[in-house]
């Protein structure tokens, strides 16, 4: 176990209850997807993991001390006053990494998201999808051991999205990386994850915990396999049973 939500409830001062008595555990090396309707507390769950907000009741339990985190926010959250390169370098600068190492890491990360040619562009010169990829590169540059991603590919076209899905899987399969991934897309969650947590409408609870078989073996063929279809149906069913109530 890496991290456990132990009866976590999160209520905002406004009175909105985003999460209600949520318990689940994340194993080291998991690729966990959180799926659920809009407003069910997925972003809140990620923010709790990142320590950006505290639970109202219950607790988050880490096995040991919290490791280095990367966070791809739902908005790209780039600094408009500086270049793509400097944005990606930010976590490295804050950690006081030497310039040469930082340079290579930034180049690597930008190459991975296909934006090497835009290193010197300013955020306002990029499209929405490109900004999101910069934000992904920034999270990767810091080489986190847990990567939190909040609908990172929602604004991308289908092909870029599939390419980045494959890149992300590759990354997860080759690096020692735990990923918690929020998405609205059933297909994406099934293609990527080793585990899918389905959440109910607000206040969010975990209503299904679906484990995927052989999660480390994926290729485009998987998208047309019977297993893929069956898993998509299972996730959809879990989402719908809850709708009905």
């Amino acid at each position: 176990m890496l991290l456990a939500f132990d009866h976590v409830t999160k209520r905002f001062p406004s009175g909105v209850e985003a999460l209600h008595d949520v318990s689940f555990a994340i194993q080291d090396g998991d690729f966990v997807s959180l799926v659920g309707p809009s407003g069910c507390g997925k972003s809140t769950a990620l923010r709790l993991i990142a320590g950006l907000t505290e639970p109202t009741a219950g607790a988050l339990k880490w096995n040991g001390k919290p490791p280095a985190l990367g966070f791809v926010f739902q908005d790209p959250a780039l600094m408009p006053w500086t270049t793509v390169e400097a944005n990606v370098r930010l976590p490295l600068d804050l950690a006081g990494l030497d310039a040469a190492t930082a340079r290579t890491r930034v180049d690597e990360a930008l190459g991975l998201v296909g934006l090497s040619a835009f290193a010197n562009a300013y955020p306002r010169e990029l499209s929405g999808g490109m900004k999101m990829r910069v934000s992904l590169a920034r999270a990767l540059a810091a080489k986190p051991s847990i990567l939190l991603m909040d609908e990172p590919f929602a604004a991308l076209d289908e092909l870029t999205r599939e390419r980045l899905n494959d890149e992300l899987r590759e990354l997860w399969a080759t690096q020692k990386l735990t990923i918690v991934f929020v998405t609205h897309s059933i297909y994406e969650s099934v293609y990527l994850s080793s585990r899918i947590l389905v959440m109910s409408p607000r206040p969010g609870r975990v209503v299904a915990d679906i484990a995927m078989d052989e999660p480390r073996r994926r290729d485009p063929e998987f998208r047309i396999s019977p297993l893929y279809g069956e898993r998509c149906r299972a996730v959809r069913a879990a989402l719908q049973t809850d709708d009905a109530r």
């Binding site: 923010r47 990142a50 320590g51 950006l52 985190l69 966070f71 926010f73 908005d75 959250a77 600094m79 408009p80 006053w81 500086t82 930010l90 976590p91 600068d93 804050l94 950690a95 300013y122 955020p123 306002r124 810091a142």
Partner: protein, 262 residues
């Protein structure tokens, strides 16, 4: 230069020529007394005749204005940074900054003149001009330092940024547009402050343009008064143009306000 650009300069210039010609004509046609309203030609003549004394005065005014601006900028930014680090300190001191700002400068002038010593006219003027110019810098920078994107703040939390890193890498850049807007206001106010202070506290030891104006008025030398006025306007315009240019250069790569329209 495109057509828009040429018009932007040509139209005001045309208005100026028309007004000057009409003014010249009206003064002659209605035989207006020169101590009421001198003709433009008389003003130019007075300007040339008193060139060296006017320039010496203009230099004093410019020097005081720039010094006041620089001090106000330093003080305003420093205080805003302190405020941004501690809400307590802000709560404790902001009311006094506001009080200083809203109290009419003319009313404090005699006090300041006495405190710095009556024979230190220039220092008194400088102190008063700083008081006038400093508030927009403080107010704008304080607001700007606080207006950085919340999500970016969270990013800095996530990577455990120190206060200093947050200030330099996040809050300062976010505050820059606000600071630059404040500087444009403060530049104008520094000049206004200098002139008002010269008029009300310059006890003859400070001989800036304002002093030339009051001297000219007392002697009914209106052409000279107008020449000094024209110089003051020119200084004000130059300060504003310079600060606008700096603002555009600093923001053009990233800020919406400086974005060219397609």
């Amino acid at each position: 230069m495109n057509r828009d650009h040429i018009l932007a300069y040509a139209l005001p210039a045309l208005v100026a020529v028309a007004v000057v010609l009409g003014w010249e004509w009206a003064v002659a046609a209605f035989e207006v007394q020169p101590f009421v309203l001198p003709a433009p030609s008389a003003i130019v003549a007075a300007g040339i005749e008193n060139w060296s004394s006017l320039m010496a005065s203009a230099w004093i005014t410019i020097r005081t204005t720039l010094a006041a601006f620089a001090i106000a900028l330093t003080l305003g930014v420093a205080l805003a940074v302190i405020f941004s680090q501690s809400r307590m300190i802000e709560r404790a001191f902001l009311p006094y900054a506001v009080t200083l700002q809203v109290t009419p400068i003319v009313a404090i002038a005699p006090l300041v003149a006495i405190w710095v010593g009556l024979d230190n006219g220039e220092t008194a003027v400088l102190v008063l001009a700083v008081i006038v110019a400093f508030f927009p810098i403080l107010a704008n920078t304080t607001l700007g330092l606080r207006s950085a994107d919340r999500q970016l703040h969270e990013l800095f939390d996530l990577y455990r940024a120190t206060r200093w890193q947050r200030l330099v890498r996040l809050q300062f850049p976010a505050a820059l547009p606000y600071l630059l807007a404040g500087m444009k206001i403060a530049g104008g106010l520094a000049l206004i402050g200098t002139v008002v202070a010269e008029l009300s506290a310059g006890t003859g030891t400070s001989t800036g343009l304002a002093w030339r104006i009051s001297e000219g008025t007392n002697r009914l030398q209106m052409a000279k008064v107008f020449a000094a006025l024209a110089l003051l306007s020119a200084i004000g315009i130059a300060i504003y143009a310079l600060l606008s240019w700096i603002e555009r250069q600093a923001l053009k790569r990233w800020h919406e306000s400086a974005r060219p329209r397609e």
